[in-house]
Amino acid sequence: MSKPQPTIELRTSPHIKSAPTVEQIMRNVVFALLPISAFAVYEFGISALALILTVTGSCLLTEHLFNRAGEKPNSLRDWSAAITGLLLALTLPPGFPLWMGVVAGFVAIALGKVLFGGLGFNVFNPALVGRAFVQAAFPVAITTWTPPLAPGRFLEFIPSTLTAPFMTPPSVAAWSHHAVDAFSGATPLGLWKFQGIVVSTSDLFTGMSAGSAGETSALLILVCGAYLAARRMMDWRIPAAMLGTAALTALAFRLFGGSHYPTPLFVLFSGGLMLGALFMATDMVASPLTPLGVWIYGAVMGFITVIIRYFGGLPEGVMYAILLGNALSPLIALITQPRVYGARRERSKP
């Protein structure tokens, strides 16, 4: 040919795609978690910062090492390991010993993700797998809380943070008392459950309470979640179903069970329900595929959360509720599979 042909590409249809890509979604989830992480650092100081960096680093490193070992392509750029790390760190107590954080991050990726076959194949939310593991392995450290806004939190680590591996962490109580007068060492849920004290809803809403690093401010979590939902990068139906069901369940208990049950608002804004509903239950991989299934899935988790909180041995039930929801999700997807166009309900097999 005399004339050079213009280079034209040959792709298969459809030739146009709707945004966003996996990378864009995951990157934005990370962005949405950053303000929450920043607030955790503001509330709990350098200990929280160190914890977030350590846990996230542990997740990224674990993912990288498994990629190398399995000779798989670099999957760090899909950002999913970073999300796991951030979420995991945000669910831990701010003074959680760093070495335990490393263990949590390793377990989350290794057991929660790689074991199942990597991104897209995990049955459970990897961050919650890591959280469940350290909850079982280190029951004391994971229920050791520190007060928010302690003076000197930017200068001094919470003593437990720097515990050497396999050593008993020093008691935080002394530090807490010297930091803030009369800190009882309990989260609002714990206070309610074991001592009958109810923290004001507005404190819960803005986050002025003890708790896991990133779970305290319901307001901030809602705003960050709304950003993702508005950009269509998060399925708003899951938190809507989960929070709605939790509130209704709580309302029913209060109406029919008596006023020693907390108000629905307290239930919504305390503990890890907000963070869990908006950022963990919405893990796409572990939630059902079908439109109807998504609502059922959310409702099941909301209901179980409240039941565990009221009747379980622990003050918090979000983690187990979501893990259970994850386990049920394939079944929910199966029974809510919509009827195929033009097919009869029951599969006609000769």
Binding site: R11, P14, H15, T21, G120, A286, V340, Y341, R344
Partner: protein
């Protein structure tokens, strides 16, 4: 009022809303493309058997003259798109990839290019079978892109009674506006063609479905409908793939085509507006299909618009006339959702080409990395057939084709591409399904 209109909109469930990109061509009246110096008329430009040439190399042909006859019922004849001399009958490149036997005509520059083969006939007094024959003789195929012989589509097996003829004026593919222009400019041809088709299939009524981004077309048609009220025009929601037969039937009539069945099983025949307008134009004059309307659009052409293009015009000529800048990331025949990318500009415009899109890399985006399925459910919420493309995709990767067909309704997939369009992991789902289906077809054969 607006809200009411919104809720009352006729539609189907699921589907997607790609950017329309129709503004560049929708308001431009159809213009006639000059004759290219050389025309390439493939003998197989329709689904079915290739036609048989009736002319020899060196023979002179007149515009509109029959140059190849149908080979059996599943075939259509070809007519000369221009007056000239047959230069060759040989294998030529085609848009489908493999070379096809084609009649190459060297066009006489000085010819007046008048169509001399008119044989007017009174179609209204022909019986249905005679109309089917006349349609076949005109060489008409589905102009919406399928290129399925029109007379075959109209020949409904006798055991099925047809109650409604659905006329497809959706044009749900982005960029394309040929049907839109034809509805505006050939309204009477369209209504005439619709009447013929109703007569052939024995339908008492016809419904013309038009997406509601073309309300001007709805009004133009409504103003010219015959008074007997048997033909109506309805606006349907602008949503892809509204123009798929199954979806449009559901939107307009609330019926579903049974899985594995045909539209005539539920008493419906669907035809495209472009096809019926051509029928209304060609049949009374006894002419053959020698030209069609083509949308030329995209960032790569400076004179986008709708052109009346002689069948057989090389793409290079058409694009040159439309101001092709010479650089394009992709050239697509048809729409961006279901059209095919082509490798060479030396292929001709055939009867099934509704559009030529010259897309820049901006329009189609960078090639994307394929990630594993993250089970986001977007494809499930997009699939108009309510399949589970995620599951099908996983099975396709494992080549579990039989399982896909038996348990996951692969054969009901209409290959609309909604699933690939929304997939954030950029999995080429519909491509997997096309491959799976063709493997299964081959195994069955």
């Amino acid at each position: 009022m607006t809200l009411l209109k919104w809720f009352g909109r006729k539609s189907f469930s699921h589907g997607v809303h790609p950017q329309e990109h129709k503004d560049g061509t929708a308001h431009r009246a159809i213009r006639r493309l000059p004759f290219a110096p050389r025309m390439i008329v493939p003998l197989a430009q329709h689904i079915g058997k290739p036609s048989r040439p009736l002319v020899k190399v060196g023979e002179e042909v007149l515009r509109g003259q029959l140059i190849a006859e149908a080979d059996g019922f599943m075939s259509v004849p070809q007519h000369a798109p221009a007056t000239g001399v047959v230069e060759a009958i040989e294998l030529m490149p085609s848009a489908q990839g493999p070379r096809v036997r084609s009649i190459v005509i060297k066009v006489y520059e000085a010819s007046s290019q008048e169509v001399l083969c008119d044989q007017s006939q009174d179609v209204d007094n022909l019986d249905p079978d005679a109309i089917v024959q006349a349609v076949q003789a005109s060489g008409l195929v589905g102009l919406g892109g399928a290129a399925f012989p029109s007379h075959v589509k109209l020949k409904v097996p006798a055991e099925h009674a047809i109650h409604t003829l659905v006329v497809n004026g959706c044009e749900c593919e982005p960029f394309l506006t040929t049907d839109h222009r034809v509805m505006l400019e050939q309204t009477d041809d369209l209504i005439r063609g619709t009447r013929y088709a109703m007569r052939v299939v024995g339908a008492k009524r016809a419904v013309i479905g038009v997406e509601d981004n073309k309300m001007d077309a709805v009004e133009t048609i409504r103003a010219r409908l015959p008074a007997d009220g048997n033909i109506s025009v309805e606006a349907v929601e602008t949503k892809y793939p509204q123009g798929s037969e199954k979806m449009l039937i559901t939107s307009l009539l609330g019926l579903e085509v049974p899985s594995g069945g045909h539209t005539f099983h539920i008493g419906v025949v669907v035809n495209n507006v472009g096809t019926l307008a051509a029928m209304g134009q060609l049949l009374p004059r006894g002419r053959g299909l020698i030209e069609r309307v083509v949308t030329v659009a995209g960032p790569g052409v400076s004179k986008p618009g709708n052109y009346r293009v002689p069948i057989g015009t090389p793409l290079r000529y058409l694009l040159g006339y439309a101001g092709f800048s010479g650089s394009a990331a992709e050239v697509i025949l048809g729409g961006p959702m279901m059209g095919n990318a082509i490798a060479s500009l030396d292929v001709p415009v055939t009867k099934g080409v509704s559009g030529v899109l010259v897309l820049s890399s901006n329009a189609i985006g960078q090639p994307r990395t394929v990630h594993p399925c993250i089970k986001c459910g977007q494809c499930v919420s997009a699939c108009p057939i309510h399949l589970n493309p995620s599951q099908l995709g996983l099975l396709a990767a494992k080549r579990e084709y039989d399982l896909m067909a038996e348990d996951f309704h692969l054969k009901d997939c209409i290959e609309c591409g909604c699933c690939s369009f929304v997939c954030p992991s950029s999995i080429p789902l519909v491509q997997y399904f096309r491959i799976a289906k063709s493997v299964l077809r081959e195994r069955a054969a």
